[in-house]
């Protein structure tokens, strides 16, 4: 249990020096493209590019190891569940059936199902590098500024910035309280019965939640005293100005987004790419 997941390390390279707004908009455009399309060719191109960007950003593998493991477990789980629940979903989508081999009953492996599941897995996997780049290469204090500049109301952006500011504090509080309660004999493991375990968990969360309520009181009074929310707009210390590279990155993402949509509308005539007809 480590609070190290969100470790922003200051670096200077092409990706890190992009403005937060650029990275947010590129992230949203590219993930929207991947989410929309079910064409494995478009997804593979975006995946390859995002891996290149990940390499360019020089993010170290040990920073993202835990995430990669989680994602792999999740993808494997989803892959198996999809087949168990709907082994013929690919046939339904593509309208043809090319049987590769039969396992038993209606559990048949078809090339349609294989294409559907591989596409889907790639679809999920391709967003991960993009997310990693966005979250690890953007200064947390700049995130709120970029969300606001991307058009979100600054009060909501400020709430988000407070979240990032207090997240590590609350993890530390939680660990302190959990350690204190466990040293008094509170058992959270599977050895305890479900009802008792919920009660024990409450004994840890209640102090955490009620101390947070006190904090909310203090912080909102402080902000009120300093006149927060008086004006319609505000400026941010951490906002970075847009440069030439930002425009280039935005242009590239927009192009990829439009190309993916165009491919679906004009070439495939559906969200799916059907090589079987």
């Amino acid at each position: 249990m480590k609070a190290k997941l969100f470790d922003y390390v200051e670096r200077h390279n092409t990706i890190y020096d992009l403005s937060g707004v650029t990275k947010l908009l590129c992230f949203l455009l590219l993930t929207a493209a991947v989410m929309f399309s079910y064409d494995i060719r478009a997804i593979a191109v975006i995946m390859a590019l995002s891996l290149v960007f990940l390499w360019m950003s020089k993010i170290q593998f040990h920073q993202i190891k835990l995430m990669v493991i989680y994602v792999l477990i999740f993808l494997l789980f989803n892959f198996i569940l999809t087949f168990v629940f709907s082994p013929t979903y690919g046939t339904e989508i593509y309208g043809t059936e090319h049987v590769l081999f039969r396992i038993f009953g209606h559990y048949v492996v078809t090339s349609e199902q294989l294409l559907y599941q591989v596409t889907k897995t790639l679809k999920y996997a391709s967003v991960v590098p993009l997310g990693i780049i966005f979250f690890l290469s953007t200064n947390p204090s700049e995130l709120a500024a970029s969300i606001n500049r991307a058009g979100v109301n600054y009060k909501a952006a400020f709430a988000f910035s407070l979240t990032l500011r207090y997240f590590p504090d609350l993890i530390r509080d939680y660990q302190d309280i959990a350690a204190a309660q466990q040293s008094r004999g509170l058992d959270l493991s599977k050895k305890e019965k479900l009802g008792k375990r919920i009660k024990n968990i409450l004994n840890i969360t209640i102090p955490l939640i009620f101390s947070t309520l006190d904090r909310i009181e203090t912080i909102s009074n402080t902000m009120d005293l300093r006149g927060f929310g008086k004006e319609k707009k505000r400026t941010w210390y951490a906002a970075k100005p847009m440069k030439r590279n930002d425009l280039f990155a935005l242009g590239l993402s927009l192009l990829l987004f439009l190309a993916t949509i165009a491919l679906s509308i004009f070439v495939n005539h559906s969200k799916f790419w059907n090589p079987f007809v």
Partner: protein, 186 residues
């Protein structure tokens, strides 16, 4: 008088810290049920508690930001359909904001019933309608898989809101001074 959609400084701060707390609980404090990937999330109990105290906007944003943050930290990407469903469920629970007066020290059995009706309806709408439909529209997941997942999520989240949310509201109402508890001495 409490206004349903008013955004004060306190709402914003409660949203910010609530979302952080939601993310912490979402990542660390789950009750394993024995079935993989379907733990009881205590975060929803907390979310429903904050939604009742600070209203639908705070509730919705707390779950939306908190869920998105913990997804991003754990998986490096965000599972939008479920994040949106989370936000919607807590927004709907928050609609009971003007009806329940736990902050004035009042939380009786009638309020327990009222809160639980709201939270069960909210969970059913979010997890049996919105999450599966978005899964199908955005990710083209197989229909029976997403509805099974949705039903399981609905059940455990309703349990979390019902047990943890109710207990938190009880505890909170107890430490708040009752309205009109002071009388003028003659």
């Amino acid at each position: 008088m409490k206004k349903m959609f008013q955004v004060s400084t306190k709402t914003i701060v409660a949203t910010g810290l609530g979302a952080a707390l939601f993310a912490v609980l979402f990542m660390y404090v789950k009750v394993p049920t024995g079935i993989p990937e379907t733990d009881i999330q205590t975060a929803y109990g907390l979310g429903s508690f904050f939604a009742v105290l600070f209203g639908p906007i705070a509730g919705g944003l707390i779950a939306f930001i908190g869920h998105a943050l913990s997804d991003a930290l754990q998986y490096g990407s965000i599972w939008w359909s479920w994040v949106i469903a989370s936000g919607v469920s807590m927004f709907l629970v928050g609609l009971s904001y003007t009806k329940i007066r736990a902050d004035e020290g009042e939380f009786g059995w009638k309020d327990v019933l009222r809160f639980n009706i709201y939270q069960i309806l909210a969970n059913v709408i979010a997890w049996i309608v919105i999450a599966p439909v978005l899964d199908i529209v955005i990710y083209a997941e197989p229909v029976n898989l997403v509805f099974t997942q949705g039903a399981v999520a609905c059940l455990w989240n309703a349990v979390s809101c019902g047990v943890i949310g109710t207990l938190l509201l009880f505890a909170y109402a107890k430490i708040r001074p009752k309205k009109g508890s002071l009388t003028k001495e003659e």
